[in-house]
Symmetry: D2
Subunit: 341 residues, 4 copies
């Protein structure tokens, strides 16, 4: 079995790996599609992010879908031949966060292709994957493995939208429309946003934002949100997906008094106009990963209620992973790039 | 009638002022006590704060209580001789915020002793005040005018605690225990906080925090919150009352995943560890002024459910206002200083 | 000008009425379409409902849309020729409920075609209507007046769905799919419901439920919800639109522990299994009318995000109002019946 | 070891029972005090309630406190000699409800002295109890075992108050002030209720309600809540503790539009004015048992923030259990009756 292994920044290798044994509750799949995520890119470009660094070779990838080829003796919910999205997120189910219903904040989580723990949790960009039965979410025939591989990033965005309490009837601003921003637009529309405005500084993201349903897109390299900042602000909810301090600052001005800001973008220390937060009584809420929203994502894609296909830029064979990662890292050329196996 | 008028930084004068006419729905009171607030101090020390600057002489003061001496023809709820706290906050009742139930964020508010509007709204540090009937909240005989003059800052803190959704059963951290921090401790205890820890860098605030019910006080000039930051944090709710970026930073680390931060302290641009907000899914909520909580404050003081007396450092006659403002500005010597009239 | 006036049960007359004068802030419209609502039917069939009774002749109707023909001198937002839905709900804007942001519960509301007040508030089934500027919500060319006349009942249902906090990602049951139930299905889907099951005892409502997006419909005259009641229940949210005690009882069993029941259907005293409410910690929430959701309804219809057309059974000229009311009252034959003027 | 065993209605026996073995994670205690609860009384008087019936002899009791006499090898948090309240509620920690943070609704719970499961879960009215370490909540020296034995019913009431979202600043009505009603008054006051009115039809409960802090008590055998029903109602929150349909009906009228009703009292099928729920948009929420609130209860009692002692009518030795149960069942004579061991 071949896998896509990161050894050091820009040192990405296609290597042989062993297929793990199949336990009673586990499922063996042949992976069909795998999307390259921002964190994969950070490992590829910089060897990590913040204090998280690669300390040993690690298989990348956590946005994957495949076909079941074998099942453990105790498995009942899936069978060979089933096609499925695979949830890369495995909360412990026993810590205080899990038992409080906040499994996405699990204190002892295992997440595919993450160097947060040591030894690292190996990822899913590999030909054969063995996963637990509860990680497997089957899809109907009319959904492709490429579409199913969007379940993970879509789950991130569905979760982010639930963090806003509700967007039903709301006017929504999305700042930064890379793949996460674009999926947030889809999620916000699916959950009832009345008006969606999106900002970015690049042409392809803005064009994609429009394609997935933004009512208006604004290129903040040349234009501003100033009109929306009149009378102390317009938007009920801001989804800040860029991790850029200027985007957050402009967004805070455009949100109405009593409005909500959901921060998805990571970005280190950011200067914040605390007096705006105080005097407009804004709520700034972090949003991190997902839990039950993975199943939702599979469901909304399967029922045709969310169409992720406008986001897919190109599907590239595993053998050309280097090119795939380079393309995925170029915002002028790519939204989502997937590997095929 | 004499009033306490600010002309420029450190130029505070006791001057004659005219008593305004009494309308049908208004009430004339002889002011008995007036607390000096942080914003009064900003006008005194710096001529304002942020973009808000004194542009004409302005009577200071908005934490006042007095005795009714005359009522307008249409007034029914109060009568001469009644003693009362006076609500300095007059939302318009007609803007979008007022009609959405967020009168504390009124877009056209009038607030005593504030230079936000021009002409400025004159304040209440004066011997005779004419106010609207709906601003008058009577107190029983056993409550002093000095206690009643705490209703306004207490209302700020009661509102802040409601901004945390609920503190019932919660572990609470209060950073910065000047008058607002100390009243927040009282408010949080009254609303059911299970454990309250308070931090400051000065002895008098820490001693007062203990006196008003903090379970533990920590001098962060010499000690840290590090123990509480273990396992991703301890506190359910942080009330940040200092407006100090380091206090907020240390507080964010001490709050548990999924916890809430209520920001009361103003402080200009503050660097914020946005990744902590995101990965712990914290909620940072501004808290600004109050609305119905003014009546609550009078009620809790009157029923003996909140005792504000440990906060009163000294009561100083109007004639010595200069000394009163200087004392109020010295954190080593004073918590709340009140003027008598 | 002709109007549709109820004098007594089954005594419906088309009569001449005077056109009211046009004030500075008011707008004169030629009504184009008017939907017959359940309360119109109650006046027609029984002369009222509960303690509300017709005590003087009253023009019926509150689901209307028309074309502006004249505007008052101070009107700026609309002009002659504009086509619009007309909000029949006029909260006072000054009572405690209005100022708390709950204008739908206004203590002094005026609502078209309602006998709750005396003199009654005359309704909008008339050729010419004079309304306040703020009641007028214009529609684009591609929306018909018939579609626009659905804004009012849709607003009722959008409001009901917001009463569930959020249906995003949720499994939803709708019991009773007359026009309100069917519009609730549309509203719930628009606001992100993941799965929608609907029940009724008649063929046309069930067929319509399917047409507007229910994933499954169940005829509870011949089938049951028993499967969904296993393991203490399945649905996250129940919208009870029938006002039928058995529907509520079966629904309570089918809702999961911790789930929410939104009651829209009116129905007098209903026996309730209070122990089910307690031991499953259900939340039963009333939902009444709407406020800002009227504008939302116009918006969702105009943007094509909600399609109400499957609900329209027939449009009947005013002159045949008697036939229209009889048809509207026959669940086997009609969902929504509209008058044309 | 002696235990208090119910065999059939009114057939209560003090019998010898075996001491269970001590596991590695378990703790052996000598029970000191045990409060008789309403469900104990139902088993004693009627052999059960609803469909729950005694099918084999069962030790009663779940409100107990005792002294640790031996610990298992893996126990670290308690030691012999510690005095503690014992949590009788053991959720499974693995079902959907537990993992959603609703352990009080656990689908596979074990609860002391309950005939819901078969074989029944034996109770804690026994001289020696072996419990799991996590059930043990130690108390300081100044708290008596009798006070500690109130932790369980107090936890029920603390949970009920959290079900109201927040009572901070609220006007609260409590209908029915047996032990649960009286503890609800204490809990509501501790969590910030501004005004508390209590109703009952018996003198002792009303007197106790006053003693634990109700601002006003009303004997609804001779007086009514009519004044509070004016203008569509007064109270923000109703805690219905009687399970009596008339109490709920009167309470619904006295709650303001948009208010909340928390139902604690069990009572079979109750007629409900559904139109009041709908047109006032009330929220009726069930409240069942507790989870983390057990630890809170121990904490509030230990810190002196809640004083349960006014509720204790009499402490009676185990040998006289029959008399204790008869007294506990007499509302004219008893609030809480405890057994001593």
């Amino acid at each position: 079995m071949k896998a896509c292994v990161i050894h050091a920044p820009h040192d990405l290798r296609i290597e042989e790996a062993e297929v793990p044994p199949l336990g009673a509750h586990s499922v063996k799949l042949r992976i069909g599609a795998g999307g390259i995520c921002g964190s994969d890119l950070h490992y590829f470009q910089h060897g990590g992010f913040g204090t998280v660094r690669i300390k040993q070779p690690m298989i990348l990838g956590h946005e994957v879908a495949g076909t079941v080829i074998e099942i453990g003796g105790a498995v009942t919910a899936v069978k060979p031949g089933d096609r499925a999205a695979i949830n890369p997120n495995q909360p412990c189910g026993a810590c205080a966060q899990c038992l409080a219903g906040r499994a996405n904040l699990c204190l002892d989580v295992r997440f595919y292709g993450s160097a947060m723990r040591f030894p690292h949790v190996q990822g899913a960009f590999r030909e054969i994957l063995v996963a637990e039965e509860r990680q497997i979410f089957t899809i109907p025939d009319h959904v492709s493995l490429g579409q199913a591989a969007f379940a993970e990033p879509l789950a991130v965005c569905l979760h982010a939208v639930t963090r806003a309490s509700s967007v039903a009837g709301k006017r929504v601003l999305v700042t930064g429309v890379g793949p996460i921003g674009a999926l947030t637009i889809l999620a916000a529309r699916c959950f009832g946003a009345r008006e969606i405005v999106a900002t970015d500084v690049a042409a392809l993201p803005l064009k994609t934002a429009k394609a997935v349903g933004a009512d208006r897109v604004i290129d903040v390299a040349t234009d501003t949100l100033a009109d929306y900042a009149a009378n102390k602000g317009t938007f009920d909810v801001l989804f800040e997906c860029s991790g850029n301090a200027r985007a957050l600052a402009a967004g805070l001005d455009a949100v109405r008094p009593g409005g909500t800001v959901v921060q998805l973008g990571l970005g280190g220390e950011m200067g914040l106009a605390i007096n705006t937060i105080v005097t407009k009584e804004l709520e700034l809420r972090g949003s991190f990963r997902f839990h039950e929203e993975f199943g939702w994502a599979v469901d909304y894609i399967s029922r045709g209620l969310i169409d992720v296909t406008p986001l897919l830029t190109e599907t590239i064979p595993l053998a050309e992973a280097q090119r795939a990662f380079e393309l995925a890292g170029d915002r002028a050329q790519a939204m989502k790039v997937q590997l095929s196996f």
